[in-house]
């Protein structure tokens, strides 16, 4: 069989249309583009409300474009923790992208090169390749959509029911059924477009029998189904015209609707990934210089940073943050997703109120005023109890596939709530105490170094003599009696290993990590400035701390205030000492243990490996909890929550975590490496009734046990 001439391999776009009909089509297409463009303009008007202080400099944009697009193409952030969704979204994404590019190519051929220059490239081998690629990727799209539908219709993960934990059942705002229905329409429309596309191809092949079926396999299958119907050319023509229009009209309507519907995430999520702040949540943003005289933080849309407003539209409601959030998991009135959606609804409602005139006014004058005064905190918006339920553990930011900064946005709202006095009374008095005495325990600052008195050696005062390691001890490790036992164990180990170290004694202040996350930005600045001034006068090589919260702030936040030093967690230093042989502890303990990653050591600072390496070196067998490393579950103490009472009766995050550990079977120890974890989990082991089954050890206590051969409990008087 001789194939037809390559030059003839093509298809007719406006098959058999009259000029008038063709004009009608173009009018509709232009209208669609206008509606689309207005929609994009609307989004821009929304983002103009914000301030651009923290947008990356233009010079960074090309590099960021590459990184963001790479994340998108690889689906790394989408497939994470949910491979099913990874595959389904890849199908939809690549199917859609290729079909979209195909449509653009066709439009360029039809509406530009051929119409104006009479040059048709949509033919021959190019056409055949085009045909086969689109045909196959169309199948990928259909497969992806079907997988998504199976998930929504049959698997029904709870995160997709969109019920709000921040509203009571029965509240009109509780059920977000409209989102559920909207998502079905979205999937349905895409499927409709894909299927009518194939149908159209099938009818065309049935009519024209072009003979290169291998390049349109799906269309050919449809044609085989149509042929036995024995329809004549005229009947097929009617069918073909009908399908053409119903495909085409829906397609241009879909394009017009992109900025107004879930489809907008194709643009906004991509843009959000490009602008993604690699330090989101690890380093919170300061109050912009030009806003020092205004109230801090967010209470209205006009207070937002531009990228945060964009992120509101980037959310796809995927529920990864909803699932990861410890507040949500323990029944608190908070889901990071629902905060983002509530803010988005506020943002859109304010735009709606402004009308077309408001949008165009903003676009033309660039004044950014449309709806910027709308308040986003309150009973009918984001509720204060929602904002205060957050532990600032960054699980949401870590989980978000599109770079939304849920926790930092919540932090910004807290800043304003603190200024407006909408804060828990206990938190208020703790902040007052920290301001007065420099520590959250309300202890006289002179007592900070008192834990050293029970040691049988002197701990150097790093303010008075040079040291190799400056040990920033932190509040809990300094003042909490249980943590002091760990603190002294660390001191004994460093002393035994011959490390040259010292502390700041009463020169140290609370590092400010939790103060900042509680929303008291001014107090954070004051504490940080005091610590930086003290540290700057000391002579040392690096800072070591056993407190992950202090670690995070010293490492990621002090540099912006002029204090850039090398900061390490004590587990890093202790691992070095074990590896170098300075601490001879190898293979001494044969315990079965599990290890809890502290949020601020793990997720915030990537400190996953040193604690595990130490456990291995000691000879312990580590049984991982299901939620480990970057998916570690917050103990509930972060973000100032340790100073805010938990609601009565509700499960505490720490209790949820202990139950997870107990589920692993027989364990000797629940191992932690954060002073707050010691307090939180020792309580939770008791309150969950597991005191007989599980005991807590701070990692250092195990090292000391391995070193001196005695149980750590006996080594602490």
């Amino acid at each position: 069989m001789t194939p037809p001439l390559a030059a003839e391999k093509t298809r007719d776009v406006f098959w058999g249309f009259g000029t008038l009909v063709e004009i009608l089509w173009y009018v509709l297409a232009v209208a669609s583009v206008v509606v689309f463009a207005y929609g994009i303009g609307r989004e821009v008007a929304k983002y103009r409300r914000g301030h651009a202080t923290f947008l990356p400099p233009r010079a960074e944009l090309p590099g960021r474009f590459v990184t963001g697009t790479r994340t998108l193409l690889s689906h790394a952030s989408i497939k994470r923790r949910d491979p099913y969704v990874g595959w389904a979204h890849r199908g939809v994404f690549y199917g859609w992208v290729v079909l979209f590019i195909g449509t653009v190519i066709l439009a360029v051929n039809t509406d530009v090169t051929e119409r104006f220059f009479g040059w048709r490239f949509f033919k021959g081998n190019f056409y055949l390749g085009y045909s086969i690629v689109l045909d196959v990727l169309g199948l990928a799209l259909v497969a992806g959509l079907v997988l998504m539908m199976v998930r929504r219709g049959i698997l029904r993960p709870r995160k997709l029911d969109y019920a709000r934990p921040d509203r009571a059942p029965g509240d009109p705002q509780y059920d977000r059924g409209i989102y559920r229905r909207g998502d079905w329409v979205f999937l349905g429309l895409l499927l409709y477009l894909a299927l009518t596309g194939y149908l159209l191809e099938g009818v065309r092949i049935a009519m024209d029998a072009p003979g290169y079926n291998a390049f349109s396999p799906a269309g050919w299958v449809v044609a085989q189904a149509i042929n036995p119907l024995g329809l004549g050319d005229e009947a097929l023509g009617v069918v073909r015209r009908t399908i053409w229009w119903s495909h085409g009209l829906v397609a241009i309507a879909f394009v017009a609707a992109i900025p107004y519907t879930k489809a907008t995430h194709m643009v906004s999520s991509w843009a959000s990934l490009v602008l993604k702040d690699p330090l989101a949540g690890k380093r919170l943003r300061p109050i912009p210089e030009d806003r020092q005289q205004e109230p801090a933080g967010y209470a209205t849309l006009g207070d937002f940073a531009t990228e945060h407003l964009l992120q509101l539209d980037a959310c796809t409601k995927c529920g990864k943050c909803h699932e990861a959030c410890p507040a949500n998991a323990t029944g608190r009135p908070l889901s990071p997703r629902d905060v983002v959606l509530e803010l988005r609804e506020q943002s859109n409602a304010a735009l709606h109120d402004a009308g077309v005139g408001g949008v165009l006014g903003t676009l033309l004058h660039g004044d950014g005023r449309t709806g910027s005064a709308r308040r986003i905190v309150g009973e009918d918006a984001v509720r204060p109890e929602t904002v205060w339920a957050c532990m600032q553990c960054n699980a949401c930011v870590e989980a978000c596939p599109v770079g939304i900064e849920q926790a930092p946005i919540i932090n910004q709202i807290r800043r304003r709530l603190v200024e407006e006095g909408e804060l828990d009374a206990n938190l208020q008095s703790t902040l007052e105490v920290i301001h007065k005495s420099g520590n959250s325990f309300g202890e006289n600052r002179r007592r900070r170094g008192r834990w050293t008195q029970e040691l049988d050696f002197e701990v150097k005062d790093a303010r008075k003599e040079p040291v190799d390691v400056l040990w920033f001890v932190g509040d809990y490790a300094s003042f909490d009696p249980r943590s002091q036992r760990v603190t002294r164990a660390i001191a004994r180990l460093l002393h035994a290993a011959g490390v040259d170290f010292g502390i700041l004694y009463d020169g140290e202040r609370n590092s400010g990590n939790d103060v900042r996350r509680a929303g008291e930005e001014g107090l954070f600045e004051a504490l940080a400035e005091a610590n930086i001034a003290t540290l700057a006068k000391c002579d040392f090589q690096r800072i070591v701390t056993s407190d992950p919260h202090s670690l995070n702030t010293l490492r990621n936040e002090y540099p912006e205030l002029g204090g850039a030093w090398t900061v390490a967690h004590h587990t890093t230093l202790l691992l070095e000492l074990i590896d170098s042989g300075a601490l001879d502890v190898r293979d001494r303990l044969a315990y079965r243990v599990t290890y809890h990653d502290p949020c601020y050591l793990g997720r915030h600072n990537g400190g996953y490996d040193a604690p595990r390496a130490i456990l291995r070196a000691l000879g312990c067998s580590l049984i991982e909890m299901p939620r480990n490393r970057d998916n570690s579950f917050c103990c509930g103490a972060g973000g100032g929550r340790i100073w805010i009472p938990d609601p009565p009766g509700a499960e505490r995050p720490s209790e949820n975590r202990i139950r997870e550990a107990v589920g692993l079977g027989e364990l000797d120890y629940f191992v932690v490496s954060c002073p707050k974890d010691v307090t939180m989990y020792e309580d939770a082991i008791k309150t969950t009734g597991n005191a007989q089954r599980l005991e807590l050890r701070e990692l250092t206590e195990l090292i000391e046990e391995a070193l001196v051969g005695a149980p750590a409990a006996a080594a602490v008087g």
């Binding site: 801090a296 007052e432 007065k436 006289n444 002179r446 001014g522 107090l523 600045e525």
Partner: protein, 261 residues
């Protein structure tokens, strides 16, 4: 509506504070200063009254050395319009009557509609200064107010008596009241607000500026401190040692024994 709030920076004593000057004073290292708890409530009440009236001024006034500066800044940060600090070294260790004399001299030219004081200070616990100020100014006064409503220059107040009894009474302004805790919820002053408060007017006056001389103030004092001492440790209290479990076991024994007696 002009309200003068007389406030005090109070000292919290560290457990290890040492007595100095022949046991008539405490080593300053053993003291931490803060705005008196009662004064946070009286200031809040003043701010609420001013804001409710729609205009007016709240002036925070204190007798104290530099240690009192932060407390005044906190008042300004919370919303006081201006602050006045009066000090002279002759006022070191001044008793409530001497302080009242100085406060009265400073308040008089202000001619306020209302003077608010805390019922007492958490360190000295005299419960005396406010009413003594009223005596000097010849102002009508009510002590231990736990509710305050103003209408047309007449205040309806609730005076908190012993045993949960409340007396409701009316008093015409200008007047002086001492405010009890719990009357409102004092607001939080953010550090930013405290920093910004440095731009608000804070005047520092000496005794001359309020028309007093050091000798006269000294003579108006009601008492002289002979000496300070630590209370005899646990006068009679037998301390129960050991773990919480040990303590609980001992308490249980004592309770059971006493209740069956």
């Amino acid at each position: 509506m002009k309200v003068v709030v007389a406030v005090k920076a109070v000292a919290a004593l560290d457990d290890e504070a040492e007595l100095v000057d022949g046991d008539t004073a405490v080593d300053p290292d053993g003291l931490e200063w803060d705005l008196n708890e009662w004064d946070a409530f009286s200031l809040e009440e003043a701010l609420t009254l001013r804001d409710g009236a729609g205009d007016g001024e709240v002036v925070a006034l204190t007798v104290g050395d530099e240690e009192a500066q932060d407390s005044l800044l906190a008042c300004l940060a919370k919303g006081a319009d201006r602050a006045v600090r009066i000090w002279d070294d002759a006022l070191e260790g001044a008793d409530p009557l001497a302080v009242a004399r100085v406060l009265a001299a400073a308040i008089e030219p202000e001619a306020p509609d209302l003077v608010l004081c805390g019922v007492q200070s958490s360190d000295a616990v005299n419960g005396a200064t406010g009413v003594a100020v009223a005596a000097h100014l010849g102002l009508p006064h009510v002590a231990v107010v736990k509710r305050l409503e103003l209408e047309a220059g007449v205040a309806t107040v609730e005076r908190e008596l012993e045993g949960g009894l409340v007396e409701v009474l009316r008093i015409r302004l200008p007047a002086l009241m001492t405010i009890q805790t719990g009357i409102n919820e004092p607001r939080y002053a953010t550090l930013r607000a405290i920093k910004q408060a440095r731009d608000k007017p804070l005047s520092e006056l000496g005794l001359d500026d309020v028309g007093l001389d050091a000798a006269r103030v000294g003579a108006s004092a009601g008492a002289r401190l002979r000496r300070l001492r630590h209370p005899e440790k646990g006068e009679g209290a037998e301390m129960l040692d050991g773990s919480p479990e040990d303590v609980a076991a001992r308490i249980a024994d004592i309770v059971k024994e006493r209740m069956s007696a």
